[in-house]
Amino acid sequence: MPFIPHTEEDIKAMLEAIGVASIENLFDEIPAALRGRGLPDTPPPLSEMEAARLMRERAEADGHYLNFIGAGAYEHHIPAAVWRIAARGEFHSAYTPYQAEASQGTLQVLYEYQTMMASLTEMDVANASLYDGASALAEAVLMAARAHKSAKRVLLPATVHPAYRKVVQTIVRNQGIELVGVPYAPDTGHVAPEALAPFAGQDFAALVVPQPNFFGVLEPVDELADWARANRMFTIAVVNPLALAILKPPGEWGNSGADIAVGDGQPLGIPLASGGPYFGFMACRKELVRQMPGRIVGRTVDVDGKPGYTLTLQAREQHIRRSKATSNICTNQGLMVTAATIYMALLGPQGLAQVARTCHANVLMLLGNLTAIEGVERAFSGPIFHEAVLRLKTPVAPVLRALQAQGILGGLNLAHDCPELGHALLVCATETKNEEDLMLYAGHLARIIGRRFRPAPCAIKPKP
């Protein structure tokens, strides 16, 4: 029996010890009408060998592409050591560390992770992770509303990833929180401080500030954070953690920093894998820690005074506080966080900065190559990290299809999410791309749209 170790002899002895004649008898408290209707549409069991063959065929059918899509999930090199260690059975097949003494491995990893995230964001504290970046933002919005007390509205700029905005909407809607949009400047592609003026002095719980924003553009975070504080709102930063190796961390935005920082941890060693599992991170000011949802690990000592780690502040959580908990979230993404912690340890501050800088240099080179093609231009003038919006003269969909036929995923078509931008395409280049890849893309694009392609004169000098 697959994964059931019982021998005939065992079963007999066990039934005898229980004092029943058959396993069926153990279900005798269940109304007979409900029992054993079978699973007629379920296929018969496969051996591992058969399953392997099936899955390998399916995986091969999915093929392999040269990918220039980013849009919230980024292709990075993951050192082989990361998953070799994270996949060790002792990490992989453990549950939430409820028995701290038997879970010091997981707990210490989480404490180290919290420290790393707090430091990347330069916030005071971090939790042990949430489901993903989008739901972490929703939790941050709820948290800001709880902490703010009076306001039930939150400013959510149009430069926040559209899927994040939808998720926030799904999650906060039923609690009567209103999300108010803020437009972006059509030239720079980021929120213009002027656009906030109409909201000044009003009762909002928070301003959400993405960095980089959905268009890959960098927001004027200092101004935005200062404006929010001046208007008695919390600043919620939504950041790419890898970018923080070189970008100003939320804790240092403006005169007094953001209040809550969230984001998706996927760039830190988590494979793309069609969308998950990833993990959401959340960090905040000390003063807000009791409003923070999710698990938190603390350092303490044992009866001998030896340092050790344990889940703490559980009084905020549902299994203790039930309907009065800060959130219903119970699970974290422990395994992903383990991988991310190992990833950050292997890269270190310099390594992470080199990855970030290489991404940046690569996207500039890509943009140089692509905008050297007639009829391809940048949509926005704002500074970017590793992603940017291009505008074409013709619809994007057929162009992407033609690129795909060449084995290239050329970026995300914005026709659906941002129709106001015209024929717009969001492209990304990470450190995984080399010069030939970037040239290959440009070469195919030029051919497809039937224009001449003049490679940029200097490799990493961007077109203004």
């Binding site: 170790p5 392997a52 549950y95 404490y111 974290n332 993404q333």
Partner: protein, 485 residues
């Protein structure tokens, strides 16, 4: 030793970083970071050795019997893992066109179909990323349903007092008031109290069945009538589905909405606390509200459906598709088991629980509901032991660690005093269960002969009993270079 304490300034792993590139002149100075983050600077060997050593400080299914009630810690087949991590699956971008993921989407679609079959529901969405998010989605659908009918008076969600804490918390997340329903002395929902509580304000009832008390609500069909009779909907918390997998379908019991914990019943690895996956199933009338995306089979191809195809959906729960990799593992698991294998899960999980309960009774332990069958789990109460010896449930739990067993769930559900909620699962052998009973018996003897030994346990773990009060009072959540070890 923390990884930060191993760090030395200037230590590098050049193999892991791209060659140095010039500073990022195209980013204005004011947007750049001025000092490096406090990440460790260690060698690859340091990191591998450190995290390998940490892993060895964990109990896990791969190393220990782990009868953590309500958590279904069973063997996670290695095949599920290996096949979900095939390079092409790992490399695929979530926003890549559907036609680049037909193999992956086929698995998702078939998983959706299997879950419908297994639960007896009309439609399933794989979107929720954990049980609690499944609950949220389910309750949100209940609300969307009532709202769609203009039935705005329903502001209360009924929740038995034995329910998992996520149930009332999820109800509140959806804007409901959670109203508790008491449990009777046999561990069932108190039908009279339920009858008294339902009414026009009732949005629904959230039920776990078998309940977290380890017994099956045998009056489930009466409950169904009471709730539906009052116009409420019935929500099934599927965290305990392992008890009845392949034997009984929630849909047949009359549930309108359910969530499943794939990381429990479908054996995806728990990973030290996650990731999980909490698909939701609904009957036909709630289908339009399912969270997005859904996987459809159209003209021979698989496609993700979004807002346009499902305008009444409660919406999205994650930036992409949910915990895809967890879903893939669960898919392989159901394929390895097949119909008969799934049926056996429920049977043998139940056999193991009842056998273990009988063994512990015989060893002198008091079970909470001795007149009842155990489902896949059951409760031992140590109230009397505590009175006699001062040894509490937590002490017994800690002492089990010394004997090489992970502790059962302690002090949950809250309504049974000094309780241990014990769930052996179907993948453990009779020998292991016998060894567990023997260890519990030893502890009972120790508690009587030398209570301090038990009260001071554990003695053999990497750290001894930790000071939780200090952890919460003197918050130390982030290491600070100044503080040292």
């Amino acid at each position: 030793m923390l990884i930060f304490e191993l760090s030395r300034r200037g230590r590098r792993n050049p193999t892991q970083a791209p060659a140095a590139v010039p500073e990022v002149s195209a980013i204005p100075e004011s947007l750049r970071r001025s000092r490096p983050p406090l990440l460790p600077e260690v060698s690859e060997l340091d990191a591998v050795r450190h995290y390998t050593a940490l892993s060895q400080k964990n109990f896990s299914i791969d190393t220990h019997f782990y009868p953590l009630g309500s958590c279904t810690m069973k063997y996670n087949p290695r095949a599920c893992d290996a096949l979900a991590m095939l390079p092409q699956f790992l490399a695929r971008h979530p926003a890549a066109p559907d036609d680049t993921g037909q193999g992956f989407l086929a698995c998702m679609y078939e998983l959706q179909e299997t879950l419908k079959e297994v639960t007896g529901m009309a439609a399933v969405s794989l979107a929720p990323m954990a049980g609690a998010q499944g609950e949220f989605s389910g309750v949100a659908m209940i609300r969307a349903y009532h709202d769609s009918r203009g039935d705005a008076a329903r502001t209360e969600m009924l929740v038995p007092d034995a329910a998992h804490g996520t149930n009332p918390a999820s109800a509140v997340m959806c804007g409901y008031t959670a109203r508790e329903i008491p449990t009777d002395r046999h561990g069932n929902v108190d039908l009279a109290a339920l009858g008294a509580a339902v009414g026009s304000r009732t949005a629904g009832l959230m039920l776990t069945n078998p309940s977290t008390l380890g017994v099956f609500e045998s009056a489930i069909l009466d409950i169904e009538k009471i709730v539906h009779g009052a116009g409420g909907l019935l929500y099934y918390d599927g965290a305990n589905l392992n008890a009845i997998l392949g034997k009984v379908k929630p849909g047949d019991m009359g549930f309108d909405v359910i969530h499943l914990n794939l990381h429990k019943t479908f054996s995806t690895p728990h990973g030290g606390g996650g990731p999980g996956a909490g698909p939701v199933g609904v009957n036909a009338k709630l289908a339009p509200f399912l969270p997005l995306p859904l996987v459809a089979l159209e003209k021979g191809g698989y496609r993700l459906l979004g807002e346009r195809a499902a305008p009444l959906s409660i919406g999205r729960l994650s930036a992409h598709i949910g915990n895809a990799g967890v879903l893939l593992r669960a898919y392989v698991y159901v394929r390895l088991l097949g119909a008969q294998g799934m049926r056996r899960v429920g049977e043998f999980a139940t056999l193991n629980a009842n056998y273990l309960m009988a063994g512990l009774k015989k060893a002198g332990f008091e079970v909470a509901f001795p007149e009842r069958r155990a489902s896949h789990e059951f409760i031992v109460t140590l109230k009397r032991l505590k009175e006699e010896t001062g040894v509490a449930a937590m002490d017994v739990a800690k002492r089990l660690l010394d004997k090489g067993f992970h502790a059962p769930t302690t002090y949950f559900p809250l309504l049974v005093a000094e309780c241990l909620l014990i769930e052996p699962t179907e993948t453990e052998s009779k020998q292991t269960l016998d060894a567990f009973v023997a260890a519990m018996k030893e502890i009972l003897a120790e508690a009587r002969a030398d209570p301090e030994l038990v009260k001071k346990a554990p003695h053999t773990t990497p750290v001894r009993r930790l000071d939780d009060v200090r952890a919460a009072r003197e918050l130390d959540l982030v290491w600070n270079p100044a503080q040292g070890e």
